[in-house]
């Protein structure tokens, strides 16, 4: 006796409780039972479907995108003299806001030293590019408004989804993107989640980048970010002097050993 027989017997017993004709063994009573069970099955399915309509809507469930962060522990922090486009390296990442926001720390380059005449070199972030689009920011100088290609094509999907916070000399020195009149004024530990005053990023130029998930606009990760970096140290003599004397990224030759008066 298979489980199918048990099911048939269950059907018979259920129907037989309704009336004598339906509980009989004749062909007519069998057809009537089948029709009645089919109707009952149909009603149950409708009830189930009705229940599913009361579940959270499709827009409230989101599969998300698997983002893999692959920082390179052997990435050599570059030294930028003059003007250059630098991608930077991810050195920290956090996901917050119920998985809807990701923060990335992009280490861009070294802070360089003084020129031969003693004036400090100054590094600025002139432009930010994401996936080939130059970012145009809102009035706060932090929040992306839209992106634009060299051909003038605009992409509005960055609107409110990307925020950039540049720092030009460690965590305590926030800076504006050169083209913006406003910008971040808070130290990095007041912007980056889980950072403390011990996250100093000494002598580094870096940026905190906030990305808010927006699948319809294809904002599902950091993308390819590039910074246009400008260093006021650009004369060959200054660059060579800095490179020769710096003990962190240069040759570490004492300044007294370098004849720089000529």
């Amino acid at each position: 006796m298979s489980f199918l027989d048990d099911v048939v017997d269950f059907g018979k017993s259920a129907i037989s409780s309704v009336g004598g004709f339906l509980g009989g063994d004749s062909v007519g009573s069998g057809l009537a039972r089948t029709a009645l069970l089919g109707y009952a099955n149909n009603r149950i399915n409708k009830m189930i479907n009705k229940d599913s309509d009361s579940r959270p809507s499709q827009s409230q469930t989101q599969a998300g995108t698997r983002v893999q962060v692959n920082p390179d522990p052997n990435y050599n922090v570059p030294v930028v003299y003059g003007n250059a486009y630098v991608s930077g390296a991810v050195t920290d990442a956090r996901m917050v806001n119920n998985k809807q926001t990701m923060w990335f720390v992009l280490t861009i380059c070294e802070k360089t030293g003084n020129k031969i005449d003693g004036t400090p070199s100054e590094i600025s972030i002139q432009e930010v590019y994401v996936d080939g689009y130059r970012m145009v920011f809102k009035s706060d100088g932090i929040t992306a408004d839209y992106g634009v290609t060299p051909d003038g094509d605009r992409f509005e999907g960055f609107d409110n989804n990307i925020r950039v916070y540049p720092f030009v000399n460690g965590s305590a020195n926030p800076a504006n993107i050169t083209s913006e009149s406003n910008g971040n004024t808070a130290s990095a530990d007041n912007v980056m989640p889980n950072w403390t005053s011990n996250h100093t990023m000494d002598e580094l130029v870096f940026a905190l980048v906030r990305v808010d998930y927006d699948s319809p606009n294809d904002i599902t990760g950091l993308g390819e970010v590039k910074f246009r970096v400008n260093n006021t140290m650009e004369d060959p003599g200054d660059c060579l002097f800095d490179y020769m004397t710096n003990t962190r990224y240069g040759a570490g030759v004492p300044e007294s050993e370098v004849f720089s008066d000529a």
Partner: protein, 198 residues
């Protein structure tokens, strides 16, 4: 250029100026800067404020090649006769990385007067050093020879410091209290389910 054509003979002497920035005589002592100046000249000589003490044949300098342009040549300087009592100064001081300058002077062997100026021969850094003990069984005493292997500034330039890398060890080498790079290694390969709801 010194004109030596009018001399029947000349004698040259080599002067070594070793500047040790982290010099101390005991293991727990504080570091001070010390300049050691010595030469194989027959008498002490003052040059640019430093008195070069004569150590005669106890000093040896390996032959070097002279080239018209700056080259990354290396020089080995040995100093023999270092008494055991002075060994602790060598061990506790940080001789590696000290700057070393080697000059050459010419003298008239008859009048013992200096001919021309003292000229530079080598500028560089102590790359490594070694100590060799010479034990005298009869007298049961020992003296030591310290050998300094020196790299020229040109050699140092070609082997510039590797710079900072984005990992915690490298960051803390330059800034010990900074923890910004501490998560780099753990982040490698980490996957975030960015944007998932429900």
């Amino acid at each position: 250029m010194i004109d030596l054509s009018s001399y029947n003979g000349i004698r040259s002497a080599v002067f070594v100026r070793l500047q040790i920035d982290e010099y101390r005589t005991t293991s727990g002592g504080s570091f001070t800067q010390e300049v050691l100046a010595f030469s194989d000249h027959f008498q002490d000589l003052i040059y640019e404020g430093d008195t070069y003490q004569t150590v005669g044949t106890l000093m040896g300098i390996a032959a070097t090649s002279s080239e018209l342009r700056s080259s990354s040549d290396t020089v080995t300087v040995s100093l023999s006769g270092v008494p055991n009592s002075s060994i602790k100064e060598i061990i506790h001081s940080r001789i590696k990385g000290s700057t070393i300058e080697i000059y050459r002077g010419y003298f008239d062997p008859q009048t013992r007067t200096q001919i021309g100026d003292i000229t530079g021969r080598f500028k560089g850094f102590v790359n490594n050093y070694s100590l060799d003990e010479d034990y005298n069984i009869d007298s049961r005493t020992a003296s030591n020879t310290i050998t300094l292997q020196c790299a020229s500034n040109i050699d140092v330039l070609s082997r510039k410091t590797s710079g900072r890398r984005t990992n915690p060890e490298s960051e803390k080498r330059f800034f010990p209290s900074d923890v910004s790079m501490d998560r780099v290694v753990n982040l490698a390969g980490t996957t975030y389910n960015f944007g998932r709801k429900g």
